[in-house]
């Protein structure tokens, strides 16, 4: 399959571009940030996106989705990244939905997926326990009881965790089975006794939460997927989400770069446009190269996901690592090349820098994915 988006996918990209420019420009994120807003995104806008089929884009029609695939979704996310649009795409469309689809029982899928596709239900993945992404570092315990399981542990950086209706809690149910053995997933209602969540406003103006689980009882029907054997399905889901996030980061990088380029063509010093200085031209050209490489890695990874290829893990790490390297470079340079005005809150370029660092840390930064790639390649 060609890595280039087809006509349909390009059409979707154009309508997503119009949608986000009109309804969720960077100014919308500023408004949310300055709220105070209890949600962190615009619920009405999320419902509109769901009506367009976007919330169910990866969900089969049987479960109320439109089943348009990852490359289609990637086009939307790239455009969302351009305006830094806050939404539960990552937490629900890329993480919770695919994990339930891959691991859930028929009844779980029938109950949960149509509600996710409809934008009515928010489920957050409670995975991380350390500041750096570490999907095998799970200390949260799931102890079997006669009725089900009791969960104890602490989760951090749970995306959209502060307003989620339910959590998928990743916990260790079996001892001594290596880094990846014994990993299980449980669906936990947000109002279950023993669940305490705290909103953690992040620098990018979006939200996450910490989650304390103290003697939280769940029954057998709450278990998502095989007991003690969820590491592989979880990793597959994480890879899809990493690629989706890389697509969003690509859009963020492209927009920050284009804004910077415009500034270089507007700003005059020493009586000439600063974009005529060779030192700055070369820095712009270097950013262009990184953006081109990232674009290719993202498109190929999206293609591999839709084709369910064996090299999805490699390409997911490639796409996320390149997106991280590119975005760190581009957003840092964007602020520098804007000069003093780039340091002000009034200028929007700083929003790109802030969003970039959170996105970089989400689901593994460049170092994490270089290590993983080396491991996958056998060195």
């Amino acid at each position: 399959m060609s890595m280039l988006p087809n006509e349909e996918q390009l059409l979707l990209k154009r309508s997503a571009h119009e949608f986000f420019s009109a309804k969720s420009p960077v100014q919308a994120l500023r408004t949310l940030r300055d709220g105070p807003d209890p949600v962190g995104f615009d619920r009405a806008l999320w419902r509109e996106m769901a009506e367009l089929g976007w919330a169910g884009i990866l969900i089969p029609e049987t479960y109320g989705g439109v089943d348009f695939g990852y490359k289609g979704l990637g086009q939307i996310l790239e455009e969302a990244g351009r305006t830094l649009a806050a939404s539960p795409f990552l937490s629900n469309v890329l993480l919770a939905g695919p994990l339930i689809l891959a691991a859930g029982s028929t009844s779980q899928k029938q109950t949960l997926l149509p509600a996710i596709a409809g934008g009515e239900l928010l489920i957050a993945l409670a995975l991380e326990e350390t500041g750096r992404h570490a999907p095998s570092h799970i200390r949260t315990r799931a102890a079997a009881t006669s009725q089900g399981y009791v969960l104890n542990g602490r989760k951090i950086f749970v995306l959209d965790g502060h307003i989620a209706d339910q959590f998928i809690v990743v916990a260790r149910s079996v001892d001594g089975a290596g880094a990846l053995g014994g990993i299980s997933c449980f669906l936990v209602p947000a109002d279950a006794p023993g669940v305490v969540r705290k909103r953690t406003p992040m620098v990018d103006g979006r939200n996450a939460a910490t989650l304390e689980l103290v003697e939280v009882s769940v029954d057998e029907t709450s278990r998502l997927g095989p007991l003690g054997n969820m590491a592989a399905l979880l990793e597959l889901t994480l890879d899809g989400a990493r690629v989706g996030l890389a697509a969003e980061m690509l859009g963020t990088g492209l927009e920050a770069f284009e804004r910077t380029l415009r500034y270089l063509k507007l700003r005059t010093q020493f009586g000439v446009l600063i974009g005529s200085f060779q030192a700055l031209k070369h820095r712009a050209a270097l950013m262009y190269c990184e953006l081109e490489l990232t674009t290719s890695a993202v498109l190929e990874a999206l293609t591999a996901l839709d084709e369910k290829r064996d090299d999805v893990p490699h390409l997911a790490s490639l796409a996320k690592a390149k997106a991280c390297e590119m975005l760190e470079l581009v957003t840092s340079e964007a602020v520098q090349l804007h000069g003093g005005i780039g340091m002000t809150d009034a200028e929007e370029i700083g929003f790109f820098l802030k969003r970039a660092r959170v996105a970089q840390q989400t689901l593994g930064d460049a170092t994490f994915h270089r290590d993983r790639y080396a491991h996958l390649m056998g060195f």
Partner: protein, 395 residues
């Protein structure tokens, strides 16, 4: 899609049938076939392989059949390239006639010129060199001073000096930029072809850092060149010159991924010198740097593929050749610096039995790689081109 799939199957079958086994192995640089009057076939099967490919027109797959080509469209040419890579078939014929002159000749040459020059290039009978750079015209190429003076009859008389002329001492013919008008810069350049055995032509090889002498100084002393050898119009050679440079950049950018290079991949070298029993590179900092390099290689290869797909679909890729030239050559230099770090002092041997042939090759190839980002337009010039043509930044 069906016809392309059929073409792929047919191509694969033909290659399996016609490519000698010995030609499906990595190709040492000294076994490359360059053709020409003085051409040599160091490996006996390389001549057989060339004959097969010439008969099919696949030494120049996209050229029209009438001029010795294969008449393939871009999509078919990509498939041929992919299948040759997959089967590890050696490239049957190298040459600047194929990679640089041919494409511009097809566009700017007269019918007579095409008939005269293209078929022998396709058959590997005519080896070319490139007369571009001069001592005072490097990055500022349009400053070239080699003069071609009209003799008032049917010849130009060429006098001047070129430098960095790759393989000039082995070439049969030269495509040469000459000044035919001294009153303007770019507007006074013409594109001329002539035989290197013409009286007045002299070449002197230049010894490089690596000890090799692939480049020459080339001197012209009143060389008489028939006017019919002018390509394009008088004083309009700069357009052709620039277009040819794009083909050259495309060629150099692929230098690191040439089929069957004799230097192994950086991760294999690292595993050899620094790997544990499981093949894991023990030095964490080097392992991270190598992972980054290998990942950039993959992303770069994907970018070339994406550009080819876009180009086959009819989308232009302006400035792309500059990006590929810049990134590919810088990447190749980084590769050799990493290989040196992995091999340590064993990669820095100049000669002698205490080093393996591979180790000695590493050192020479490392030195050679430094030229990649200078020849064919420096990295700095490529970045200028990207900034101007792609990003639209002001002069």
């Amino acid at each position: 899609m069906d016809t392309l799939a059929a073409f792929r199957a047919e191509t694969r079958a033909w290659l399996i049938d016609h490519c000698p086994d010995a030609m499906r192995t990595p190709q040492p640089e000294d076994e490359r076939v360059w053709g020409g009057r003085n051409g040599v076939f160091k490996h006996p099967d390389s001549q057989r392989w060339l004959t097969q490919m010439v008969a099919r027109g696949w030494t120049v797959p996209t050229w029209p059949v009438a001029y010795g080509g294969g008449g393939l469209n871009k999509e078919e040419a990509i498939i041929l390239d992919e299948e040759m890579t997959r089967l590890q078939c050696r490239i049957p014929l190298f040459g600047f006639g194929i990679s640089m002159l041919g494409p511009v000749m097809l566009k700017y040459g007269t019918e007579a010129q095409k008939q005269r020059f293209l078929p022998p290039i396709a058959r590997g009978e005519m080896r070319w060199c490139q007369g571009y750079s001069e001592p005072n015209a490097g990055s500022d190429l349009a400053n070239l001073q080699t003069r071609a003076v009209d003799d008032g009859d049917d010849h130009f008389v060429v006098t001047g000096q070129k430098i960095w002329t790759s393989y000039a001492n082995h070439a049969d013919w030269i495509f040469c930029l000459v000044r035919t008008d001294t009153t303007t810069k770019q507007g006074g350049i013409s594109f001329l072809l002539f035989d290197m055995t013409s009286p007045g032509v002299e070449t002197r090889p230049i010894t490089l850092l690596s000890g090799a002498s692939v480049f020459c100084e080339t001197f012209f002393d009143q060389v008489r060149v028939p006017k019919e050898n002018l390509v394009g119009k008088l004083n309009e050679g700069w357009t052709i010159a620039k277009e040819l440079l794009q083909h050259e950049r495309g060629m150099i950018s692929q230098i690191g991924r040439a089929v069957g290079g004799t230097v192994p991949s950086v991760e294999r070298v690292a595993q050899h010198y620094l790997g544990d029993e499981q093949g894991r590179i023990r030095d964490p900092a080097l392992r991270d740097a190598i992972a980054q390099h290998v990942m950039n290689d993959r992303a770069f290869a994907l970018t070339i593929r994406r550009a080819n797909e876009a180009s086959a679909a009819g989308a232009g890729a302006g400035g792309a050749s500059s990006m590929f030239k810049f990134y590919g050559t810088e990447q190749n230099k980084r590769k050799f610096e990493l290989i040196l770090k992995c091999a340590g002092s064993q990669g820095l041997g100049w000669e002698g039995d205490e080093f393996t042939p591979e180790e000695l090759q590493i050192c020479r190839s490392w030195l050679r790689s430094k030229g990649n980002s200078i020849e064919g337009g420096t990295s700095e010039i490529q970045l200028n081109v990207i900034a101007k043509r792609v990003l639209g930044l002001p002069d």
